[in-house]
Amino acid sequence: MARLIGRRLLLMVPTLILVSILVFALAEVLPGNLGRSILGPYATQQQVDILNHHLGADKPLYERYAVWAGHFVTGHWGASLQLGTPVFSTVMRALGNSLLLAGFALVIIVPTSILVGVYAGLRRDSLLDRAITISTLSMTVIPEFVSGVILIVVFAVTLHWLPVSAMPPQGAPFVDRFYYLILPAIPLMLLELGYIARMARVGTVQVLAMPYIRTAVLKGLPRHRVIFGHVLRNALVPTVTVIGSQVGWLIGGLVVVEFLFVYPGIGNMMINAAQFHDVPLLEACVLVVAVLYMLSNLIADIVVALLNPRIRMGG
């Protein structure tokens, strides 16, 4: 198992290098001229040249990349063009906030959606299953920015049940943060919950059709034992893989929700940085998110390996 994790982590290194090359290319090379990207269309060529020189963008590509990547590896992420603050600490603080929000959402999403999905799968074609299928489908089709807008108006403004801001006032105890995170987490939950529940349902239906479930039933095992001992574990394998890959969408949703709730997370920061053409901050955000995404897939793979001895032992 440790070897599997180790190998996967090691495999992440070349992927990460390629990701960094891609980000570097997308942010600094392909748009044509880094200085121009930052300064916009109105700067004179001289100003652009000066900035390019200052940024080292007039050097050969490989050298630029080496310097750029070197800085990332050594933690010298430079300063934000807009805020003047060090990129590293700025990104990390935002990342922490985002992780709190996403983690909070996931902690609720994962068990709930699996429960709902597996239940629907076990009661396949029943009225309840239909109801769950339809409601999960309708959840997945409402974009976060729609559900978010409506939720705020209903729960924060009209009913005053929940705070409209996603951050508690200064000095509030840490646990308060979760109270403030409920409202922003709901749009994220709705979307992912529906999707993961559908996957869990499909996984359950498929596993129920497997011969080994017939074996278990015909062994005379009680229903709960069949479900928890034989169905659940195997039904979760595709679900977990999906959760891993859904993290990408969760991040996308996070951007929207943070923007909507003015939450100081990495998504909101990215939008700000993108609007300002704050390239160093932008690059750092994308890279950090990519690493996060890869790690979450790795975790999903590890969970799958834990669920599936074949993969575990194969490692």
């Binding site: 300064l39 916009g40 109105y42 700067a43 004179t44 100003q47 807009q82 805020l83 003047g84 603050t85 700025t90 705020i152 108006v153 924060a156 403004v157 005053h160 705070p163 409209v164 801001s165 951050m167 006032p169 200064q170 923007f259 909507l260 709730f261 003015v262 100081p264 909101n268 920061m269 700000n272 609007q275 300002f276 053409h277």
Partner: protein
């Protein structure tokens, strides 16, 4: 003292002008304040004019009923403002968020009243010499910075010299260019400062008042790290500042200000600012009760805020505008007829209705607008006239129409304004392409690269300015720091210099007429309206002062319950 004598004489001159019908009483108030006339002196002047009423009651007081409840001290007030666009530094700020925050912590020599008249702050009095090129300011005694160091003339000298240093990057640099040069500021004694101007300048006090917001008085040793260590003489001290999130300020226990009954100001203990750009999010914060006050509520999209029974909305006429600037260096704006064609395409009433519910004062592309700057000559109105617009376009060689791009920030009512312009220009043959960018993007970069100063045409939101001259100084001169139009009209510049160097009101009125007609005819910018600003607060919030959205004076504000 000669200067005091001059002031007295100038006071008599003003009274005469009023009596002759050249000036309104309100104008007298404003003008008198420029020349450092004390409140008592002004009251005497008004009496001389035959006026008995005081018009100094604040609009907020008026809106909330004349009887204010008893002052309650202590408590925390939360306000929502847009975040500062760059690192917080009084020397370089230019946006609402930055200005509002600095205004709480640092103070100016002169502050503004609700009517845009000048009001002594760190300077207790000021007066020019007869020629108007030497101004002497008496400073307030017994003021200390919030780090304990005393406030003296040296701090003023340092602060002013700092912003007119060509390396400062300060907006005040341009405002004072040609008027005050490095070395022109001298400390006469610890509490007297003398400004030796390059030329006579009648409106000089405005240039070192809060309306010239980069001239905040900082300690002489200020090294440019305001965001971390905010030292000022103001009623508030910065406790924490998190970029794009929030700022918390606590009251300065050693603040020099006292109310009329001698109570220590400010009343409140703490002031919290939520830093939010998005109008919707800001409105929601207000409605959900997360914040107590929104210094600037946008009518567009503010319907639910305005109709919220738990909130009180102050409407105060401000001189703020949404400048539609044409970069006269860029095609097709070199030709004034194209600019005029746009001006004649606009249905200003309809725009006022859509954007402000008809609350704002219409403008006709000049700053000398008597409805907002009393005493200004009345410019000819510009109604929508497509025949004329088309004629102008065809004269300019664009008979078959012209394509233009309008850059606008996704902020406040600007996008809606842009769409109104677009729709109204279309019948005239002006095809406007809207380039909508974000609030932080439009102000990104330096003066030579930033979109708001370099785009071919652009909408820029301006907070209140106290006089037409200050506006012109800021954006219509070749030396202006914030000239989005890059307009350079010799006639205008010459006239403007005469205008600002004379103290004779009759001459000023004549010159104002000339300036106004040049500006309107040339139309470097369209000023379609002067905005009625909305400030929204919970019903238990009282006595917020200050004109416009920039000068958010809560030193005497308090909250009941």
């Amino acid at each position: 003292m000669a200067d005091e004598k001059f002031a007295r004489e100038y006071g008599h001159h003003l009274v005469e002008e009023v009596l002759n019908g050249h000036m309104t009483r309100r104008q007298l108030l404003v003008r008198a304040s420029v020349f450092g006339l004390s409140a008592t002196a002004i009251a005497q002047l008004l009496a001389a004019c035959g006026s008995s009423t005081s018009s100094s009651s604040s609009p907020s007081a008026a809106a909330s009923g004349s009887a204010l409840p008893a002052v309650v001290t202590g408590g925390t007030m939360k306000a929502v403002i847009p975040p500062p666009l760059k690192a917080l530094d009084p020397v370089t700020i230019y946006d609402q968020g930055g200005i509002v925050l600095v205004y709480q912590i640092a103070e100016y020599l002169i502050d503004l009243t609700n009517q845009n008249a000048l009001k002594p702050k760190l300077a207790v009095s000021w007066a020019p010499n007869a020629k108007g090129d030497v101004w002497t300011f008496k400073l307030r005694q017994g003021v200390t910075f919030n780090d304990g160091s005393p406030f003296e003339a040296a701090d003023v000298v340092a602060s002013i010299e700092r912003v007119i240093n060509p390396k400062s990057g300060s907006g005040a640099l341009a405002a004072l260019a040609g008027i005050l040069s490095p070395g022109g500021t001298k400390a006469i004694d610890t509490h007297t400062v003398q400004f030796n101007l390059d030329k006579p300048f009648a409106d000089f006090p405005y240039l070192v008042s809060a309306s010239s917001y980069n001239t905040a008085i900082l300690p002489r040793n200020y090294a440019g790290n305001f965001q971390k260590k905010a030292v000022g003489t103001g009623p508030w001290m910065l406790k924490s500042f998190v970029t794009n999130q929030h700022a918390t300020l606590v009251k300065n226990p050693t603040y020099w200000g006292k109310d009329t009954q001698g109570r220590q100001l400010p009343y409140l203990d703490q002031l919290e600012f939520a830093l939010v750009t998005d109008t919707s999010a800001a409105n929601l914060q207000l409605q959900s009760g997360a914040v107590d006050v929104q210094p600037q509520t946008v009518f567009q999209g503010g319907a639910s805020v305005l109709s919220d029974a738990s909130l009180r909305v102050d409407v105060y006429p401000s001189t703020g505008i949404r400048e539609l600037a044409f970069n006269v260096n860029k095609t097709p704006w070199q030709d004034k007829r194209v600019r005029q064609a746009v001006a004649y395409s606009l249905d200003r009433k309809a725009i006022n209705q859509a954007l402000y519910g008809g609350r704002s004062n219409l403008g006709y592309d000049t700053f000398w607008e008597p409805t907002v700057f009393p005493g200004s000559p009345t410019p000819p109105a510009r109604a929508q006239d497509y025949t004329k617009a088309k004629q102008l376009l065809s004269d300019a060689g664009h008979a078959s129409g012209v394509d233009v791009t309008l850059t606008v920030a996704n902020y406040l009512e600007n996008p809606a304004f842009a769409q109104l312009i677009q729709a109204q220009c279309k019948p005239a043959g002006i095809n406007v392409k809207i380039n909508e960018i974000s609030y932080n993007a439009i102000y990104a970069g330096t003066n030579t690269t930033t979109p708001w100063l370099n785009a071919p045409s652009v909408i820029v939101e301006w907070g209140s300015r106290p006089t037409p001259g200050v506006y012109a100084q800021a954006m219509l001169l070749p030396t202006s720091a914030w000239s989005s139009s890059h307009w350079n009209d010799k006639d205008f510049v010459t006239t403007f210099n005469q205008y600002e160097s004379t103290t004779d009101e009759a001459t000023r009125t004549t010159l104002a007429s000339k300036l106004s007609s040049i500006q309107q005819d040339e139309t470097p910018i369209v000023v379609a309206f002067y905005i009625s600003q909305l400030r929204t607060q919970k019903k238990n919030v009282y006595n917020i002062q200050g004109p416009g959205s920039f000068y958010f004076d809560v030193s005497q504000a308090y909250m009941t319950k």
